[in-house]
């Protein structure tokens, strides 16, 4: 009976050892290193659309005023236009950079809006 336990114990130890050691002898080379995975978010233009949809819902559910809704929607439209123009233009880098630009863009646009409103 004791043998069984000894053998089982050894198997457990060997299994663990195998798990730990095997990467060092693995033949597949991971030259890629750690990969940045962009989380599965839809493209920025989609999020612009979604944002406007949400705004419209907020407006229809009577949470924001019509003036605010129209202003923000117009602003998002411009953003989308910019973005679409950017898409047609191959020089603009996709991915992070462009979303950064979009962010900047939104910021600028919002500031403009605010200034227009005189706040």
């Amino acid at each position: 009976m004791d043998y069984i336990f000894l053998v089982t114990g050894s198997i457990i130890i060997i299994t663990c050892f195998y798990f730990i050691i095997s990467p060092f002898f693995s033949t597949t080379v991971h030259s890629d290193g750690l990969i940045e995975q962009v989380s599965g978010e839809a493209s920025s233009v989609d999020s612009i659309y979604r944002s406007v949809n949400e705004l419209e819902m907020d407006f229809l559910m009577k949470k924001i005023s019509e003036a605010d809704f129209i202003k923000m929607k117009e602003h998002y439209q411009m953003l989308a236009a910019d973005f679409l123009k950017g898409e047609q233009n191959p020089k603009v880098v996709q991915g992070k950079t462009s979303s950064k630009e979009v962010d900047m863009e939104i910021l600028r646009e919002l500031e403009t809006l605010r200034r227009q409103k005189g706040r």
């Binding site: 559910m61 949470k63 646009e109």
Partner: protein, 656 residues
């Protein structure tokens, strides 16, 4: 088997140490093989923890009394299910449960689809520190595979109070919540170390946090249910230190779940969110410390052991590391946030929500710790019992309910106040009507009525939100009602899941307020054939009988019940005399009606024909359980679907 169990524990310590080292080497040198090896280590830990748990189940199930844990918590004639669930009846076993969950979670993370994310080695390291701690503590101070000096003929048996279905689930669910919080904590620390203070860690851990919250909720509610049907004092929440300890992280995580939305949308509150999740994690350790140390008297106390000290040291260690990391990254985190556009916006209402939840957590913490503080500072012993918490927490919760009532009506960014007032009028009138109806019906208790009215107000707001949402969607898309309803909720699962949770809380709150304010109690000694009247109930005692079940002697009282003069069957409250336990245990008989519970305890008897009963009528208690189920459904709904917060906000450029 002793050998295998102990090999597993030693291996646990060794491998977690190794994997930690391998991770550090891998991170330092950038050598992928070391990181892969560390991942292999995590896999081994999952394997070892699984082997050890299986073994523990096995020795418990087969009553191997040469193991002191088995002898201490089970006995020959214990039903199989309780033999197995004795796994988490004692210190050593619950440490094992914690460890195995931690290992599984760590395994899930290092083998998830995010495994290539550079954060993962850091996350895995933080979790490995936890795993290392638990294996070490088990090895030193809570070894479930410890042998007895002399093999006893039979075990001591399981505490009768733990022989209840609630106890099968309560510890497991609570632990899944506790352990689950280690994951977002680990991600937060990883993000801090890597100086990636965008919302990535929050997005990656959203489901983990929500799952942990779900299990914490479930754990607390099952615990309350267990207390209600098993402890026999007629309540479900006693503000016992240990209950408080599990309530504290629930409050802070609830706050976190709301405030992360602001970070996702606006990239602000970064320090706050990190602090909240660190605090929640620390509070889970604190809770465990309270349970294990026995420094506060509690029904949950695991009694004699110095495990508490280990937890305190670990808690202090983790807290200091976290604080150090936050401090060193403070300047970095502070940058890059966006301002709130208007005082009247969802953002600020979420901040208010956070304030209330954190103040609630502080009040609970303060009340729980005050006896200790008072005794050590002034030398006078002071009790802070349930009446204190009832008084202090009632206004806080009232404020929370009111906030929940208005919050859904407020839009992000910039809400319109006049429109808000218009939307709020209908639910507010519903609340006022409730108050009026209750007063007209002669219901007493101003605070309770205020609470109930606010709850109806809150519930009404949420219903109106659904209705208005469907209406708005139909306007925008011309869909039919059904389609609009389905698509509305499916498109915004996170939001509407949250609303369902809120509605569950409303249902639960009605139960809590009513049962606190309007329960009635009678204790009476009666002869056979006589009756007790309480509320609309009339209970007639028909006789006392004795039986045996699982070798335990049981005394059963046969009581027939009439409601408003109409017979509605009977109840059979019991006293069980366990073979293995000195005191008899009470089996409460509960007759549940949607509007009230009839709660009957067989208190004592002089002869077979003269018996004392404690009878309570607790209004709306079933609503608490129903509300709990709704909360769980709502959070599950938010969990399975739901994108990270949608609308792009005027974010400034973020460093990533």
């Amino acid at each position: 088997m002793y050998l295998i169990g102990n090999i597993a524990l030693v291996l646990g310590v060794v491998i977690s140490l190794y994997s930690l080292a391998a991770n550090i080497i891998g991170i330092r040198t950038g050598d992928r093989k070391w990181l892969e090896s560390a991942r292999g280590g995590v896999l081994s830990l999952v394997f070892i923890a699984a082997v050890a748990s299986f073994l523990l189940f096995y020795i418990l199930g087969t009553s191997q009394f040469q193991f002191s844990y088995v002898a201490a918590y089970t006995s020959q004639n214990l039903p199989m299910v309780y033999k197995l669930t004795a796994f988490w009846a004692g210190n050593a076993g619950s440490l094992m449960l914690w460890t195995v969950l931690l290992c599984i979670y760590a395994g899930m993370i290092v083998f998830s689809k995010e495994k290539r994310n550079p954060m993962i080695p850091y996350v895995s390291s933080v979790l490995l520190i936890n795993i290392l701690f638990f294996f070490t503590v088990m090895l030193i101070n809570g070894n479930p595979f410890e042998m007895t000096d002399k093999i006893p003929a039979d075990g001591k048996g399981l505490n009768p109070m733990l022989q209840n279905p609630g106890m099968i689930l309560h510890p497991v669910t609570l632990f899944m919540g506790y352990v689950g919080l280690a994951v977002p904590f680990a991600f937060a620390i990883a993000a801090l170390i890597m100086k990636r203070m965008d919302a990535e860690w929050i997005k990656l851990t959203r489901r983990w946090t929500l799952t942990a919250w779900l299990f914490l909720t479930l754990g607390n509610i099952i615990g309350a249910w267990w207390a209600y049907v098993e402890l026999g004092w007629g309540g479900y929440w006693a503000w016992d230190p240990v209950e408080n300890a599990s309530f504290l992280p629930w409050l802070t995580v609830s706050a976190f779940l709301h405030s992360v939305m602001i970070q996702e949308r606006k990239n602000m509150l970064k320090i706050w969110n990190v602090s909240l999740i660190i605090l929640s994690y620390i509070l889970t350790l604190f809770g465990t410390f309270l349970v294990r140390s026995g420094i506060l008297t509690s029904v949950h106390a695991f009694g004699d052991s110095n495990l508490g000290a280990y937890f305190l040291i670990f808690l202090a260690f983790m807290a200091m590391i976290s604080i150090y990391i936050v401090m060193t990254r403070y300047q970095l985190i502070k940058k890059d946030s966006n301002p709130i556009e208007s005082y009247f916006s969802k953002e600020s209402s979420f901040l208010l929500n956070n304030l209330i939840l954190v103040v609630a957590a502080f009040a609970v913490f303060w009340g729980t710790m005050y006896p200790l503080i008072s005794e050590s500072v002034t030398g006078t012993k002071v009790n802070v019992g349930a009446p204190y918490f009832d008084k202090v927490m009632a206004p806080i919760f009232l404020a929370l309910i009111l906030l929940m009532a208005v919050c859904p009506l407020i839009a992000w960014q910039k809400a319109a106040f006049d429109k808000f007032i218009k939307s709020a009028i209908v639910p507010l009138l519903m609340g006022l009507a409730t108050a009026f109806l209750l007063l007209a019906a002669g219901v007493k208790g101003l605070y309770a009525i205020l609470g109930l009215a606010s709850t109806v107000f809150m519930f009404g707001t949420h219903v109106m939100e659904f209705v208005r949402g469907i209406h708005a969607r139909r306007k925008a898309t011309k869909e039919n009602v059904f389609r609009a309803a389905v698509r509305l909720t499916l498109k915004n699962q996170r939001r509407y899941g949250g609303y369902i949770v809120h509605m569950g809380i409303a249902v639960l709150t009605v139960g809590v307020i009513s049962s606190y304010a309007y329960s009635s109690e009678v204790m009476k000694t009666i002869n056979k054939g006589e009756s007790i009247t309480i509320g609309h109930y009339e209970l007639t005692f028909n006789g006392l009988s004795e039986t045996t079940r699982n070798n335990n002697g049981i005394v059963v009282a046969d009581v027939s019940v009439a409601y408003k003069g109409k017979a509605i069957g009977g109840v059979k409250p019991e006293k069980i005399f366990y073979e293995t336990w000195p005191e008899p245990s009470t089996e409460v008989a509960v007759k549940t009606h949607w509007a009230q519970d009839l709660y009957v305890v067989l208190s004592s008897w002089e002869t077979k024909d003269k018996v004392t009963f404690m009878v309570k009528v607790n209004p709306f208690v079933s609503w608490i359980w129903t509300g709990g189920i709704i909360v769980v459904i709502g959070s599950a709904f938010a969990l399975i679907g739901g994108r990270p917060a949608g609308r792009i906000q005027p974010t400034s450029v973020t460093k990533s």
